[in-house]
Structures are given as C-alpha cells and as structure tokens.
Symmetry: C2
C-alpha cells in the first residue's frame, strides 16, 4: 500500500486495520476483491469527521439564529424554549429535550426557500467561531479522517456522509470541507413544498420533520439514498451503532470503525456520559465484533489540520 497514506496516524493496530481492509477489497483476484462500482464508504459527521463538542455545530447555528431572529419575535422573550436560549440558560435548553429542540429547529430552519436557507447557512459558517479553539468550525475537521477519505478515494471508493445533521445544512460545506459533493450527503430533512412564486419555481421549507437520520434509521437512510450496503462505516457514538452493525453485517470483507474521544488535551474526552454523543454500547461491543476502536489520544499523531505535523 502507499506508504505516505494516513500520515497523521501512529503506526498502531488501528491504522493497520484500515490498510489491511483496503488491501483485501482492492486486490484483483483475491478472495475479498470488490469491483470499484461497489466500493462505498459512509461517514458520520459530528464527532467523526469534525468536532461536536461542547455543542454540535448545527446546534450552535440554531442558537445563533434564535438570537438573530429575536427582534422579529418579541413573544419569544417569555416563551420556552426560546426564552431559555435568549437568556443563554443552556440547562433549561437541555431540559426541553428533543421536543424543545425540534421546536427551536423548525422556528430557525423553516419558512424560507431552500436557496434562502443555503445563503443563511453559508453566511453563518463563514463567520462563526468555535468557543474553545477560536476558529471557524470548518477548520475543526480531523486531519487523520481527512486522510482516510483521501486514501479510500485513491482506491476508487465513493465516500458518503451519513449524519443525523440536516442534509441541507451539511451540503453547504461538504464539498469544500471534505470533497464530498451534495448528492453524497445523507442526513435529516424537513418537508419541502414546491411553489411557483411570480413565475419563479421555488422549494419552501415547511416546519415539519421529514426524516431523522439517526440510530436505527441510519441504515434506512443509507438504503434509501445509496441503494446498497456500504463496505465500510465510520462513526463515533451509539447513534452510529446500527449503521456500523448494518455495514459490518454484509457478506465478504467489511470494515467498521469508532472514533473514541479520549483526548481532553488536544480535543475533548467524553463517552458514556455524553447525551446526544453518548458512546457506551459501541465501547462494550465494538471490539468484540471486530470493529476498530480508535483512540484519538494514542492513534492520532495530530487531531486538526492546524496542529503541528
């Protein structure tokens, strides 16, 4: 295999498992060879390709949007969960749970055309900064994972994002940040409605969930969008467990990998306690199932592209 591939990975079993797998499925005439057309790899986004702590990027966007729109909604001052956001009371926001999050999501992600939403996200992501690292979120990608994307593509894999994040949110940056074109992004979505406004056809985002691409619905999303079982899957939380299981359960050589956030110094350390990003079953069962468990601390030479090489 290419010796310069995966340069930001330490020479550990994790790195070797990736190289071995790719070797098996791409060796013509070998027992595990897979034609290029069937080489598909899927990646969770938050916590797998870029940082998701202390809050996922799209939640940061949502909170900023509530503040930005507050002057048009004086009623939010006294209306939970908007009140909690405007008072920066994150405990109350968390206490509102998924129902509260959905209400905030619809108020900030719906009501405009798809093209208007794209501009709003692009404007935000060009200027917003991560609280700890004081950099744009788009710089907080994991260098070793970018190298995995490159390595797989060099071996004719098609790479897809399969995330619980909003599909139209991620599509605004997936190509520039990961080299993954919009049509290779699978994510959550809200209902859109076709309208012709003054002769101009538009799609209007409705305040109604269409599909939540998480947990047991990740294999559903993969099947609906991609139409075949991928060969390799990369995740970091138990929200990815079904996706990893679905991929690993296919015939022939398969690969499943979990990124374990155990590096409080260079990034963050969290697993069993974390809410949306909780990793427990994956820690307990992944290694027994032959999945690769990556220690950010031990397996990665550097975390972010801006870290010293």
């Amino acid at each position: 295999m290419r010796s310069k591939a995966l340069a930001s990975w330490n020479e550990s079993a994790a790195k070797q498992s990736i190289i071995d797998f790719v070797g098996r499925v791409t060796t013509a005439g070998g027992p595990d060879f897979v034609p290029a057309v069937d080489r598909i790899a899927v990646f969770d986004n938050d916590g797998t390709l870029w940082a998701e702590s202390p809050v996922p990027v799209q939640l940061a966007f949502l909170l900023d949007r509530v503040h930005a729109l507050a002057s048009q909604h004086p009623e939010w001052r006294n209306q939970p969960p908007f009140k909690a956001v405007l008072e920066n009371d994150m405990k109350a926001v968390a206490a509102a749970g998924m129902a509260g999050l959905e209400e905030l999501g619809m108020a900030t992600h719906a009501g405009m055309t798809t093209e208007e939403f794209e501009l709003i996200v692009k404007d935000w992501i060009a200027t917003a900064q991560h609280l700890k690292f004081k950099r744009p979120y788009t710089e907080l990608t994991y260098q070793p994972m970018l190298e995995v994307l490159t390595f797989l593509r060099a071996h004719d894999f098609k790479t897809f994002i399969v995330s619980g994040g909003g599909i139209e949110f991620m599509r605004t940056f997936s190509e520039a940040v990961y080299g993954i074109p919009p049509e290779n992004v699978v994510g959550s979505s809200i209902v859109t409605k076709y309208e012709v406004r003054e002769g101009r056809p538009v799609l209007v985002r409705q305040p109604k969930l269409n599909f939540y691409n998480d947990k047991d619905d990740k294999p559903v999303g993969i099947n609906n969008f991609i139409g075949r079982r991928p060969l390799a899957a990369f995740g970091n939380s138990d929200g990815d467990f079904a996706m990893l299981e679905w991929v690993a359960g296919g015939a022939g050589a398969r690969f499943a990998l979990i990124v374990h956030h155990d590096d409080a110094e260079r990034e963050f350390a969290y697993d069993r306690e974390a809410g949306l990003a909780r990793l427990a079953r994956g820690l307990d069962e992944g290694p027994k199932r032959g999945w690769t468990l990556v220690s950010m601390k031990k397996d990665w030479k550097r975390v972010f592209p801006f870290d010293a090489a």
Copy 2:
C-alpha cells in the same frame, strides 16, 4: 461537437437543441460555462427512457405478483381490487384508482426484506415479456435516449433517474440497462424498518408509503437526493411538468425536453387522453417556454436498440 453522437436522431431542431445546450455549458470561457461538478441531468424513466405502454413495467410486475401470490391468499378471490386482477378485469383494476393501486402495491411490494425484494424483481425482470413486442422489458429502452445519456456523460454530466417508479424496483436494473448506478436513482419508496434477525441485520419493507416521487414532488425528490438544481431534465408526461419547470427555472443555460409518443407504428401514440401518462400541459406550454418537444415519429431514426439502424 462529436459528429457521431446522437446517431439515431434525425438532423432536426430537436437534436440540434441538445447539441447546442451541451456546447454552451461545456465551452470553457463562454458565458454559460458550468464546471463539471455541477453538470447534472435528470431523466424520467417510464415513457422517457423505456416503453410504458400499454401498462407501466412496474404495474405489470405488480399484476404478475398478485397472480403468483394468489395461492397463499385465498381471500383475494372475493376481495377487490385483488379479485379484479385475478380475473384479468383491467377496467375494474383501473376503476379502483390510486387507492386500489396502493393496496395492490403494498400487498406485493412489502413484507419482505430489501434483499428478498431485490431477488424477486431480478427473477421477474429476467423472464417477463412485453405484450406487444414479445421481448424482455429491459430491451424496450429508447435507443436515441441511451445516446443522450452517453453524450451527456461524455461531457462530464452526472445522469440521474427521477421517476414515480419504485426506487428499489428500478435500482435492480438501472446500472445494467442505463449505466446509472443505484445511488443515482430517485424514485418512490415505502417505509423500511431496521431489524436484527438471529444476529443478521436486515431492512424490512413495511406496507406504508414513504414518498411518492411524482408531479410537484419530483423537484422535492431531486432536492432531497441530489441537493442542487440540475441543468437539464427529460420527461414525457405532465407528471414531469414540475420537474421540467424547476430545472428550466434555474439561472444560466438550462434544458428541458419532452418525448411525445406520436409513433403508433414503431411504438405507441398517446398524449392528452392517457391516464397516468397524460401529456397536455406540456404540449400546450412546453414549446412556448422554450422546451424541446421531441416527436418520436419525426425526430428519431429508430426507437429501440433492436430496430434496424
């Protein structure tokens, strides 16, 4: 442009409109140039890429499945719309309308895993024959449209199917028949559910419609699956109108084409009267909007690949 492209098209305005459009968007430095990454073309399937008369292929599949499953369902003998199918009473089947069709669809398309369904479709399509032409349906593709697919791909277009047909039905043959891989097929779908059966992860097809990719929902499907507005769209019925309008309504050079079935001798002649395949608004408004209206009779040298060249 390549002189050997579109060999089965007569030298008419329709052929020239395709060549002109591709020239405009691929001429580097020209005012309408579009980078390769954004060159996307979408094709309806039934009646646009292959024959849909006298019944759409998937409806033929559905009817055959009702017969095949009848011995396991003695109650169907007296239960409309199954009774009508088993008695080959197509008038009664049609009279049952979309609700009847959906009932038949769920009884024949749900209850199995996605992999089981794939095998059922593959078995059927390998042996079923078209009533008039006495050939497998997969041979009833339109040679001139296959040439359009080839021509666009030669100019770095990504080609997608966007059809009201079942997404998992079409994916069984799209690569072999059109060179369109499963992930480039957008279609209607039913709900699937992730399950682990005796340690084996599967997706089970539920008797519930997930998305009907037709009419005003074709732009919705395009946006959800592809994530950007295509440059070119090809259709044949008013079920494609919104898709053509959505594509033609984008900025810069756009292309919309309607295949008009006016060739009773070599294929079929139908437009305003037809039910699911009705073409009326497209005939009236398409040419006024600058869309290309293709006469199968006048614009195509041959219709099917098996016709004499």
